[in-house]
Each structure stands twice: as structure tokens, then as C-alpha cells.
């Protein structure tokens, strides 16, 4: 009898311990969640405050009453945020497309075609992965300037159009497709290019999507190269636009308007993320572990 009550007691303390542990875990996770969410809350909140009411608040208030949409009108009329957004979309789409074409073609050559010096060339490619961008950007800056491609989309896009890492990622995937498929297609008289686009690329869709996701995020956030290569606001991307706004534009004084611009810039990727959440997180995890 005594034994069973003791067992119940042990079970009871174990249950209590578990409950306390769970409470601590949830508290810790909630704390970090608040620290992550808060800046987003603050930027949305501030973007709805009017210029006058923001400056009148010595102690910032947690609600914007009454909310105003003027800041959002402002960022599209007094500064050309719309133009920066269009530029960034053009830059992102073209860079990603060009990168994919180059990566697919060369991954196909490495994975499927037999040619002299293949292994040597592939090793050379891989060794390039170690080179940090900071080391080559100096000469690229000079090259692009000499070619007269400053303040053009070509100058923005070309230097980041080829990436060894993505070629490697695709090549590994292509190489896993059985040879028999290729020979079967050959027997049927299928051209290499058609086989590549109709069989290999669709079979490796997850990898292609991973590459697109990683490159789009990278393009949307890219700041350093666009800053070096553009000084004409007509070719600014969002990162440069927001920096310019902060240092010379109205954002210096008009913080609510600046926050409205930040909201507009952040929204597209966040919406995209919330819609394709699973795919994006899986893609980043894949791209990460293979690096």
C-alpha cells in the first residue's frame, strides 16, 4: 500500500516538474518572439502616426489615434519610392533568371556530358566558393566603371549573375537522375536541350525553387554593390533609396514618413514568406546545410 502511494507521489512531483519546465520554455520562447515582433509593430505603428503627433510625444504612445494614411501617400509622391520598388523588382527578376539559366546550363554539362578536363574544371569552380565577395568587388567596381555601365541595370546585374554554389547544388541534383532516362530520350531522338528543360529541370524542381528563393531574398536586400554602382536616384534599389532617404531626404526629420517607407519595402517579402512559408523555410534549410 505504501509503495503505491509513493509511486503516486513520484508521479505527482514529476508532473509538477514537467509543468514548471514547460512554463519556463514557453516564457523564454515568448520573450524572444516579442523581441522579434516588436520592431515590426513599432514601424507599422509609427507609420500611422501623423508628423505633428509623433513629434509631440515625448513619451511615445503605443497606439496611433487617429491613424493617418498621409505618410504612405507621401512616400509615393514626395519621394520616388515607387520607382525604387520597380527598379528592385526588375533587378531581382532579371538577376534570378540569368543566374538560373547559367547555373542550369553548366550544371548539365558537369553532370551529364563527358569532356576533357571536366573534373579539373569542376574542382576549380569549387575552389572559387572560398573567395569572399569583398575581395573581388574592388576590381569589379573598376571594370564596370570602365565599361561605362555605372547607373545601368547591366552594371547592377552582371557581376552577381554566376554563382558557383548554385551550380554545385544543381549539379549534385542532376547527377542523381539515372542515366537510363537520358539514353531512352536519346533513342527517341530527343535533343539535349529539350531533355534538359523537359526532364531534368522538372525533376529537380525543389532545388530550382530553393535557388530562386535564396536569390530573390538576396537581391531584395542587396545594398553594397548597388550603392557602389549607382549614384543616380533613377537606378536606386530599395536599400539605397531608404538610406538616401535617411541621410538626405525628409526621413531625417519626418520619422513617420520614413517608417511608412520601411513598411512598404518590408511588406512584399513578408507577404511572400507568409504565403510560401513551408517552401521557403525548407529551401533555406537545404541551401544552408549544403554550403
Amino acid at each position: 500500500m505504501e509503495n503505491t502511494s509513493n509511486y503516486a507521489g513520484v508521479k505527482e512531483t514529476e508532473k509538477k516538474r514537467k509543468a514548471i519546465e514547460n512554463a519556463l520554455i514557453y516564457a523564454g520562447l515568448a520573450l524572444w518572439a516579442i523581441l522579434v515582433i516588436f520592431p515590426f509593430y513599432w514601424m507599422i505603428l509609427t507609420s500611422f502616426k501623423s508628423y505633428a503627433s509623433y513629434n509631440a510625444e515625448y513619451v511615445p504612445r503605443f497606439l496611433a489615434l487617429p491613424p493617418t494614411f498621409n505618410n504612405f501617400l507621401n512616400v509615393f509622391t514626395t519621394i520616388s519610392l515607387g520607382k525604387y520598388l520597380v527598379n528592385t523588382v526588375i533587378y531581382t527578376v532579371l538577376t534570378t533568371a540569368l543566374l538560373l539559366i547559367i547555373a542550369i546550363l553548366s550544371a548539365f554539362a558537369f553532370a551529364r556530358l563527358n569532356f576533357k578536363g571536366r573534373d579539373l574544371l569542376f574542382t576549380l569552380f569549387l575552389s572559387l566558393m572560398m573567395i569572399p565577395n569583398e575581395l573581388v568587388i574592388i576590381t569589379n567596381f573598376v571594370t564596370v566603371t570602365d565599361l561605362g555601365m555605372r547607373n545601368t541595370f547591366l552594371g547592377l546585374i552582371l557581376p552577381s549573375a554566376a554563382s558557383v554554389f548554385y551550380i554545385y547544388l544543381l549539379k549534385e541534383n542532376f547527377a542523381a537522375i539515372p542515366d537510363e532516362l537520358y539514353w531512352a530520350a536519346k533513342v527517341d531522338g530527343t535533343k539535349d536541350m529539350r531533355y534538359l528543360m523537359k526532364v531534368m529541370v522538372p525533376m529537380c524542381r525543389p532545388t530550382v525553387i530553393t535557388i530562386i528563393i535564396l536569390k530573390v531574398i538576396e537581391c531584395w536586400n542587396s545594398y553594397v554593390w548597388p550603392r557602389l554602382i549607382t549614384d543616380d536616384p533613377a537606378y536606386f534599389l530599395v536599400s539605397n533609396g531608404i538610406q538616401e532617404l535617411r541621410e538626405n531626404g525628409m526621413g531625417r526629420e519626418n520619422i513617420p514618413a520614413m517608417m511608412a517607407a520601411v513598411v512598404v519595402i518590408s511588406l512584399p517579402l513578408i507577404v511572400l514568406f507568409l504565403v510560401f512559408r513551408k517552401k521557403i523555410m525548407a529551401g533555406v534549410a537545404r541551401g544552408g546545410t549544403k554550403g
Binding site: 523564454g28 524572444w32 535617411r246
Partner: protein, 296 residues
Amino acid sequence: MEDNNKKAWLYLLPAVLFLGVFMVYPLVDVLIYSFEEGFDFASQSYYGTGLYNFSYVLHDPYFLRAVQNTFIIVVITVPLSTFLALMISLGLSRITKLRELFQTIFFLPYVTNTLAVGLVFMILFKKTAYTDGLVNMVIKLFGANAIDFIDGPYWAKMFVMCFYTVWVVLPFKVLLLTSAIASVGDIYYNAARVDGTPPGRMFRRITLPMISPTVFYLVITGFIGAFKAYSDEVAIFGTDLNSAGMNTIVGYVYDMLYGTGGGFPSFASAAAILLFAIIMTITCINLLVSRKHVHY
């Protein structure tokens, strides 16, 4: 496979062309630049070769400041972010309710434009004539004096910098560690449970060894990333990092190349090569250490 030399090179042409022009040639060129003394950008001429550029950079107080800042950022943020990410991932692996919600929230900083969100951090921490800012309001609640985190004392600026860096790098680490922890098979834990192993021991003997490759991968890439810190600094303190006293090595390279103090590709090249040497050394040390401790 049959031989198809010509066809293969045709497929490879774009990649070879782009990598050649924008990676291989610059690699050689940056070395040449770094040894050309007194290079003049306008006339494309120089008056000598030697190590002067390196010596200039190493004696430049701005560069030394940048090195100091970069090392502080590395030493604080890499261990801190890895540890925090480990704690968060372990927490996530223990719960089932709200797990997806937490994971989604934690990943948000990864998909935001860091330059834009940096401005929000600046506003939260900044003290102006109109307002002390939100963070200072909280500090004053605890009875302390308001501090200007953006234009104030060095340690305050460094605090904001490190906080923001951790905030930015954490999503990626949490994501990788969460999937690594999830991939540890239940059989190990069940076997340990049968033996009555306490939870702390289970973590040290099962979880940690099983996820050690991911942890070391994150440490190595974390070091590399932190040494290349730059745009997060610009996001908080603006482009004139030298006058803010918050420049980094990469920032120094770009300032030498372009902008108000720019036009010195030789000095920029020398600084970039020094940075590369530092990163290579640290990475090699990391790899040597990981060989001893990582269980593959």
C-alpha cells in the same frame, strides 16, 4: 557517356565567361593593386611596387578602429547567437502547441530588408531633443538615466550593434538547429530512457554529439559572416561609419574605394587582402578544432 567536348564547353561558356571576368580576373587584379604604390585612379598610373599599401593601412587609425570593432562584434555575437539559437531550438523541440507559430515568428528577420528594419532599431534606441526613445523610457522605469545609444558612448553603440546583429543572424541558426535536433532518431532517447538516463546527460551524450556537425557549420559560417559585417552597421549608424567610430573592416574597404574619402583602390585592396587572411586563419583554426570534437 560519349565524348562531346565542343557541346560541353558551349554549355559551360556563360558560366566560365562570367566567373572569369567577375571572379578570377579580379582575384589576380586585387593582388596587383595591393602592391602598386601611389596608384592614381584618374591617370591609371603608379610610381612603384612594394608593401607600402599594407603598411599604410596597418598604420591607419581608422583601420585599427575598424579591426577592433569587427573583432568585438565577432567575439560577442558568434558565441551569443549560437548559444541563444541552441536554447531556442531545444525549447522548440520540447513543445507541440504553438510550435509552428513560434517558428514562423522567429524566421521573420531573415526575410526582411535589414537596412530598412535597422532604421526601426535606430528609432527605438535613439535619444533626440523631442523624445528619449522607447528603450530609454524602459531604462528610466528602472530608475537609471537615459543614454543616447546612437550618438552616445562607445559601449552603448556597440551594445545596439551586437543586439541587432544577433537579431538578424538568429533565424538562420534556429532553422538549421531545429531541423538538426528533429532529425535525431527517437531510438537513442528511448534506449537512454530505459537506462534511466537523466535529461541533462541525455542532452550532453546524445543530442549534442548528434547535432555537432550543424553546430560547427554554424560556428564557422558565423565567424565568416561576422567578420564581413557591414550593412547592419550602415543600417543603424548611417554611411559615415568612421565619424560614428563604428566602422568595420569591410566598411573601411568600401570607404577607401568609393564615397567622400574614396578613390584609393590600392589601399582598399590591401585591406581586403588582410581581411581575407584573417578569415582564412580563423576558419582553419575552426576546422582543426572541429576535427577533434565533431562526430560525423
